[in-house]
């Protein structure tokens, strides 16, 4: 059969191409342009090759921010994922309380990021904040403005408060999809609570858990607003994560070239780690199916 050729069809993808070009491709290319040039304003560019990349990759400042970032993501994942699963397992399955729980759980997710930051910034203040003042009154030396450990604790608790709901809600959805017959069969088979979790609930939650971990990893690795509002990256540089450092470099110091090189490497790192996550977790799946 003769295939009809109609090049006019290409016009149909034009709107999408235009949209993606303006929202992603052109801005990204601008960044690429900055990363290989040196500029002093006035739209004057001087070719600089890969020097900015070379400088950035050997920059102690960037590496310090990078390790802080890795540490932060690792800590919140280790807390939020098990806690989210635990909460999902203990949420009521139906009835009015299920709805109440769902609404309460969804609330933190609906609050704008800078508002979350402001809430915790005030909440933790030693002079007027409920948390900070109470801790001081109890004789605990807490001050996130001076003490790096306290600053970290505040930011981690804030993130757990803000995002554990997401993990919990995703897991809850996964749990709800398990037919009642599985639990009944487990009772008949005299399976312990742990075995029910291990052989029924966990396998059924695996798909949503993969998504939850990926989302939480990417989000936490790119976190900016909340720590910026609470600590501004301080005390010192102790909570200066990659994005905060990047903004300081680009907007604060106006080092556009290095900042652009930094951005591109940052972007590649996130892509790489997400890809590794995804590949590892889906390959477990495939191994299972083959055996």
């Amino acid at each position: 059969m003769e295939k009809t050729v109609n090049h006019k069809a290409w016009f149909l993808v034009l709107p999408v191409l235009v949209l993606v070009a303006f929202s992603a491709v052109i801005p990204l290319m601008t960044v690429v342009n900055y990363s290989v040039n040196d500029t002093f304003g006035n739209n004057e560019f001087f070719w600089n090759g890969l020097d900015w990349f070379d400088e950035m990759i050997h920059s102690d400042r960037l590496w310090a921010a990078f390790w802080r970032q890795v540490m932060f993501s690792a800590i919140i994942l280790v807390i939020e994922v098990p806690l989210g699963i635990f909460i999902a397992l203990n949420m009521p399955k139906k009835g009015i309380w299920a709805s109440v729980c769902l609404v309460l759980m969804a609330l933190p997710l609906l609050i704008p990021f800078n508002v979350v930051g402001t809430i915790w910034q005030i909440f933790g203040r030693v002079d007027i904040g409920l948390l900070g003042h109470t801790l001081q009154a109890l004789g605990i030396d807490y001050n996130y403005v001076n003490d790096p450990i306290d600053a970290w604790a505040t930011i981690i608790i804030m993130d757990v408060w803000h995002w554990t709901s997401l993990v919990a809600l995703l897991c809850y959805a996964g749990l709800q999809s398990i037919p009642q017959a599985y639990y009944q069969a487990a009772k008949i088979d005299q399976a312990s609570r742990w075995k029910v979790f291990r052989y029924i609930e966990l396998p059924k939650m695996k798909g949503v858990l993969l998504i939850a971990v990926l989302l939480r990893f990417m989000d936490s690795f790119m976190i900016y607003t909340e720590p910026f509002v609470v600590t501004g990256g301080g005390p010192g540089n102790s909570t200066t994560f990659l994005s905060i450092d990047l903004v300081k470099m680009a907007v604060g110091q106006f080092d556009l070239g290095p900042a652009a090189a930094f951005s591109i490497m940052y972007f590649l790192v996130i892509m790489l780690i997400s890809w590794v996550f995804y590949t590892v977790m889906t390959s477990f799946d495939r191994e299972d199916a083959q055996k």
Binding site: A181, D189, Q190
Partner: protein
């Protein structure tokens, strides 16, 4: 193993049931004899699964007691009752191998590895999955998964009863036959009490020694397949069992005679004068197509279903069926249906009216 007694049992899914209509299971007394092969037959939503879940302890009845032998187990947990149950849709532990799936109920009870291995081998042979023992259960067909579920139900030797909740719904027809035969063989070999829920009468009649028919939350009749066929005690049993089901006609009954739309029909016994909505029922197997006796009808069509033919007729807007032997001659001008008086039963408000003692078979 034990006899299972249900005493004044009833169940409602509502917290405060007000009338009888709120009960999914109406009050009943029933005894399942030790070692019996029972089929629990009824249309969807008649309470079969509810009853099964009460026996296995997955559901606590709103009233009444459940006894295993002499022991009251109404409040005992499922695990204590030592019951096996197979569900309608396959339940397998996806991440385990077929072997681990079959061994799961045994290992949870802390049985020795050698015994477990030997039991698993026996069951695998029975369900024909010896070759797949090392495979993960995920990715198997629905058929295979259901066979694993069945296997898990049968793997324990000491169970009080094995309950099957429409277990063959997802199985291929040829496999259905084979598995049912194996279940029967298993029953003969080990003598477990088996209760098999189904809405398929063929399945019920071939599997069970005794069939329990449920309708709208009630047990309407318990009996052998022959009893259900010959003497249905409720109109539901009459039309649910048999293909086509029993013919039921509104009638006026007096003594040994019924009058249907002005036409007298002879009955096989004395029935007195039953009250309420009175119907006579006769199975198509006991209806003859004749030229000169019985009800004058309009034959609408004759269907050839293989072993026999079914004559569909109309009588005052009501369908009456007759089953004709394959080689029976149908006279071209036959337009009357005659009922065998000994198999013409009387129902009042859907329940069978017992004939006056000693009159059966005489008036014919």
């Amino acid at each position: 193993m034990a006899r299972i007694t249900l005493s004044h049992l009833a169940h409602s899914y509502m917290a405060n049931p007000r009338g009888e209509q709120d009960f999914a299971l109406k009050e009943m007394d029933h005894v399942w004899d030790d070692g019996g092969a029972y089929a629990l037959l009824g249309a969807s939503g008649c309470g079969k699964t509810t009853l099964l879940n009460i026996i296995s302890g997955l559901l606590r009845p709103s009233q009444g007691r459940v006894l295993f032998g002499e022991r009251d187990v109404t409040d005992a947990a499922t695990a204590e009752r030592n019951i096996a149950q197979v569900f309608q849709f396959p339940v397998v532990y996806d991440t385990m191998t077929v072997r681990d799936n079959l061994a799961f109920p045994l290992r949870n009870r802390g049985l020795g590895a050698a015994y477990v291995a030997q039991r698993v081998q026996t069951i695998a042979r029975m369900i024909g999955m010896e070759a797949e023992l090392g495979r993960k259960a995920r990715g198997l067909t629905a058929d295979a998964k259901q066979k694993i579920s069945l296997g898990r139900g049968m793997v324990r030797e000491d169970v009080n009863a094995i309950l099957f909740d429409e277990p063959l719904t997802v199985i291929d027809p040829h496999m259905k036959w084979e598995l049912r035969t194996q279940l029967k063989a298993l029953h003969r070999q080990f003598g477990h009490t088996m209760i098999y829920v189904t809405h398929d009468q063929t399945e019920a009649l071939t599997f069970a020694d005794k069939v329990v028919v449920m309708h709208e939350g009630r047990v309407v009749q318990t009996g052998t397949p022959e009893e259900l066929f010959e003497r249905p005690s409720h109109t539901f049993v009459g039309y649910f069992i048999g293909s086509p089901g029993m013919n039921l006609l509104d009638a006026k009954v007096e003594g040994s005679q019924a009058v249907v739309e002005g036409v007298p029909v002879q009955l096989g016994a004395q029935y007195g004068r039953p009250e309420g909505r009175v119907q006579i029922g006769v199975r198509p197997e006991f209806v003859r197509l004749t030229r000169d006796e019985g009800l004058p009808v309009r034959i609408t069509r004759i269907e050839d279903v293989g072993r026999h033919r079914i004559a569909r007729a109309e009588f005052f807007g009501r369908e009456i069926n007759a089953i004709l032997a394959e080689d029976a001659h149908v006279p071209a001008d036959a337009s009357r249906l005659a009922f065998d008086p000994n198999h013409t039963l009387v129902y009042a408000n859907d329940w069978r009216v017992q004939p006056h003692p000693g009159t059966e078979g005489r008036a014919a």
